[in-house]
Every structure is written in structure tokens, then in C-alpha cells.
Amino acid sequence: MKILAFAEQRDNKLKKSAFEVVHTARTIADQIGGEVIALVIGDQVQVIAGELGGYGATKILAVQQPKLGKYSSTAYAKVIAEIAKKEQADIILLPATAMGRDSAPRVAVKLDAGIASDCIAFKVDSGNIIATRPVYAGKALTEIKINSAVKVFTLRPNVFPAGTSTSMAAKVEVTDIPLAESDFASLVIETTQASGKIDVAEADIIVSGGRGMKGPENFKMIEDLAGVLGGAVGASRAVVDAGWRPHNEQVGQTGKTVSPSLYIAVAISGSIQHLAGMSSSKYIVAINKDKDAPIFQIADYGIVADAFDIVPAIMLETKMLLGK
């Protein structure tokens, strides 16, 4: 069995998901027997590819070209599929990130492979890989077995351990996949990164505000608390639809699905759509002045009080604790 692990980089930095994907490939290979081939695509990625060395890959491939410095749906999918063919990979793992979720469907079609997206667990059962993935926004879980010769899986970020580096380091091989102009039919021409902001989908701690915050100006205290905790700001749809917060902060069934270690829901009622996006968080704190708010049904810790009193107090208390 050969597993190809796509290790995502942006701006010449490996994403955390890259380690999660490679380490998971190793875990599966240990159970099923086989090799792990890690693949990094970009402009000058040979050096960063080396960072994957100790994470369990048997082989690390770097495919680099100046034009690959920016993401291209068509070109990246071609490189991944060509490498998969060359290496005779049976299983392709990608992260379920913006990049992975965009290239995986193309890779699957190129390799005539079935796909299971956004997987949260794998097990090996008599030589078959069974993936667990949430459906209906996590209101149900399915177990999927892919029957095609080649199988494509994407892994939900932040769910699988990233592993730790061992001394058994694989070396990086630079390989070339010839690409024509037409392979760059979908090409990114510009990337804007909200500097220093952690995305809700990737954050380990999220402080989310709801309609009970009464107005956009009051999100300052949500931002401040998120800042102290080193987390990201999230929002309910009510808040996004009111224009108080941007769309990319919406948590829920039609927003981001998140599973941080800590989710603090402030003045959010806990509608079924909101819960669908965050109920798999490890610890949930609810602050709401209505003791019957549904959010308390799934919160580990709750405070029934006015958010405008509680949030600043939590901030002070945490600052003291963390010595900030």
C-alpha cells in the first residue's frame, strides 16, 4: 500500500495541517503496511519540505516551479495526480482546507477515485480503510469505504494529531512534472491575508458573539478576550446577517464547522444551525442571561448573567492568570 500525503504550504510555510496529514498517513501505513510519500508543491519548497523529515514519510517529494508559487486548482491537481500515478499511490490524503477541498475533487476525477471529504477518523478493518465523516453538519456521522482502486480522503484540520519529529528523517527529492500554460487555467492572481488574524476554522480557541451583543461596537470586548486567549473571533449568523461581523466568521451549518479545544459562546442562543457547527468543540462555555437558552444544553460550563459584566471580568481574570 502506498499513501501519498499532500503537505500544504502557503507563503513558503508548511501549514499545521501538513504535519497532521503526513502523521495520519504514517498511522494508517503502520496498520495496513506500506509507504508514505509526502508531497510539497510550490516555488522554492525544497527547504521547507525537509521539515517533514521526521514525521513518518518514507520519501519526501518537492515539485517546484516559479508559477506554482501561487495556488492553481488545475495545476496543483495535475501535479498531485501525476505524482500519484508515478508513485503508484493507492491512497491520497489531503487536508480539508480551502486548498485541499478545491484540489481533491479534481484529483479524484483524474484518478477515477472515490472521495470522502472532511474525515475525522480512520480505522483499518481487514485491510480496508474505513473513514468516519460528519454529514448533515455533524448531526450524523457516516462510515465510508471506498471501493475504487485509488482512494482520496481529505482530513478535517485540527482533529488529527500532528505527531512529533523522530530522528528517522527522510531526504527531500526534487521532482519535475512538466506543466503547460493550459494547466494553469485556474490561477490565483492575488492573495490577501488579514494579517495576524487567526481563522476560526483553524483556531484552537474561539470566542463567538451573538445577537445579544446588541451592536457591532460591542464586539471590541469579544475581540479583546480572543486576543488575550490567543484565539479567533466567531459569530452567529444573526450577527453576520446584520452586518456586524464578516461572513468568514460565521460559525454553524451554513458557516464554518469548528472543533477548537475551547469555544466560548457569548450571548448566542444556541440554534440547531449554530450547534451543528460547533458542538464537537472539546470544551464549550456559554454566557447568556437566559437560563433556558439551548446553548446551555451542550455547554460544559455556563454562567447565566449579562455578557457585558462577564466578558470583561473573564478578561481580567485570564490576564492575571496568564501574567499578561
Binding site: R10, Y71, S73, A98, P105, R106, V109, G114, I115, S117, D118, R133, P134, V135, Y136, A137, K139, A140, L141, T142, E143, I144, K145, I146, N147, S148, A185, S186, L187, V188, I189, T191, T192, I198, D199, I205, H247, N248, T254, S261, Q273, A276, Y283, K291, F296, I298, A299, Y301, G302, I303, V304, A305, D309, I310, A313, I314, E317, T318, L321, L322
Partner: protein, 248 residues
């Protein structure tokens, strides 16, 4: 401009999900089905492009007769033509994409729209799969789109930012919330949609590659403890988060 939009019929997001007795599907009793929320943005984008450039919008749904309800909603919103690829066999994303791609190949649209994901399977795969099957460029999870002289410039969401993508038509787009504000069907639209024909086609059967072995409910979370009802509860909360949960 010839515009195509693929739409799915899915459980309402407010629905409680229970598992059917076969242990592989959801129990549909009492569940209301609606037009997939992301597909509304896809329809709206088509309607706006048509209004700007003239042309026609064709809505396509693959599924059983119940999908006609969703096609009627699309007609009520203003699409010109509705096509049901009638098929009730279980299909994975690949098999859905195959049937849609076969039909889309026949009609050669200038732009093909999808939702970024169906809120049932949550696979977020069909749109980009169809693009690959048709050999077309694509932008997934689009939150902004401008089309001029056969070139599309779109913005898509990435972690902590956005990326701008440029592609040449014909092309595929998958719509994310934020792309536009979908219109409500007008009363006139609703009335006239009732009499509009829905074309039916039978797609070729397709093999399922990703097989569902089992479906179950996630482990339920129990309500935890209410620590207090005023600011005096805060030190205890922070202590619990630090010492018990160890998350801060």
C-alpha cells in the same frame, strides 16, 4: 449568456436528524426538504448575470420526483428552464457529478454554477468534479464574482484571508454565502412557476465508489454545570478552564 445552475433538494437546516432502521440513511419521516441554501446564492448569481447580459438560466437537479419542488422554487425565483435528471439510485459525489457532467456537456453553458456544498452530504466536491470532467477551469467557494468579456475574476475564501482567481469562460463556480443576497420569489413568479414544464431526463447509471457502511448519531454531549449567575462566578470559571479542562 447561457447559464446553468445545479441545485439539490436537502433537509431543512432546522431539521432534527434521526437514523433510519437500515442504519445507513436518515429517517425522512417528518423532515422538510428545501432548496440547498448555498444553491440559492448560485441561482441568484445566474439571475443577476442574465439580467446584465441577457441570455437564459437552466436549473438542473438530479434525484427523484421530490426534487421538482426545489426546481419549482428555482423557476419561481426566475430561472427559465428546469431539468430533472430523474434517478433515485444511491449515488456518491462522483456519480452525481458524472450524471450532471453528461447533461452539461450537451448544453455547453458559458458558466455553470453550484453551491459550495450540499448541507446533506457536506462533501463540497460535486462542482469541482464536474469542472474536471468537462475540462473547465473553476473557482470554488466564491464570495465575489465579476465577469467581463469572457473573463471571470472571482474571490474565494481561504483560511484567514481571500484569494483572487482569474479564469476564462466557459467555467465553473461554486457559491459561498456572501456572494450575493438571494431574492425571494415574487408572487407572480410563484404562480407562473406552477404551470411551467419540468423537463425529465434519465441519466446513465453510475457505479458508487464511496460506499456508506453505516450512519450513526454523534455521541451526545450532556449539559454541564452552571457555575453561577453573576460576576462572582468568573474566577471559578477561569480556574476550571485552567485546571480541569486545561485549555487556557
Amino acid at each position: 449568456m447561457k447559464l446553468a445552475v445545479c441545485i439539490n433538494h436537502v433537509p431543512d437546516t432546522a431539521a432534527k436528524i434521526n437514523i433510519a432502521s437500515d442504519g445507513k440513511n436518515i429517517d425522512k419521516t417528518g423532515v422538510t426538504f428545501v432548496l440547498n441554501p448555498y444553491d440559492e446564492y448560485a441561482i441568484e448569481e445566474c439571475l443577476r448575470l442574465k439580467e446584465k447580459n441577457t441570455g437564459e438560466v437552466i436549473a438542473i437537479s438530479l434525484g427523484g420526483d421530490s426534487h421538482k419542488e426545489t426546481l419549482r422554487k428555482a423557476l419561481a425565483m426566475g430561472v427559465d428552464k428546469a431539468v430533472l435528471l430523474k434517478d433515485e439510485s444511491p449515488r456518491d459525489s462522483f456519480a452525481v457529478a458524472r450524471a450532471l457532467a453528461d447533461y452539461l456537456k450537451e448544453i455547453s453553458a458559458d458558466a455553470i454554477f453550484f453551491g459550495k456544498q450540499s448541507v446533506d452530504s457536506d462533501d463540497a466536491a460535486v462542482g469541482t468534479m464536474v469542472a474536471e470532467m468537462l475540462g473547465l477551469p473553476s473557482v470554488s467557494v466564491a464570495v465575489k464574482l465579476e465577469i467581463a468579456n469572457g473573463t471571470a475574476t472571482a474571490e474565494r475564501e481561504i483560511e484567514g484571508g481571500k484569494e483572487k482567481v482569474q479564469i476564462t469562460l466557459p467555467a465553473v463556480f461554486t457559491a459561498q454565502k456572501g456572494l450575493n443576497e438571494p431574492r425571494y420569489p415574487s408572487l407572480k413568479g410563484i404562480m407562473s412557476s406552477k404551470n411551467k414544464p419540468i423537463e425529465e431526463k434519465a441519466p446513465a447509471p453510475s457505479q458508487v465508489k464511496a460506499e456508506v457502511l453505516a450512519m450513526r448519531k454523534p455521541p451526545s454531549k450532556n449539559a454541564g454545570k452552571i457555575i453561577g449567575t453573576d460576576v462572582n462566578a468568573v474566577p471559578e470559571l477561569v480556574r476550571l478552564l485552567h485546571e480541569e479542562a486545561k485549555v487556557i
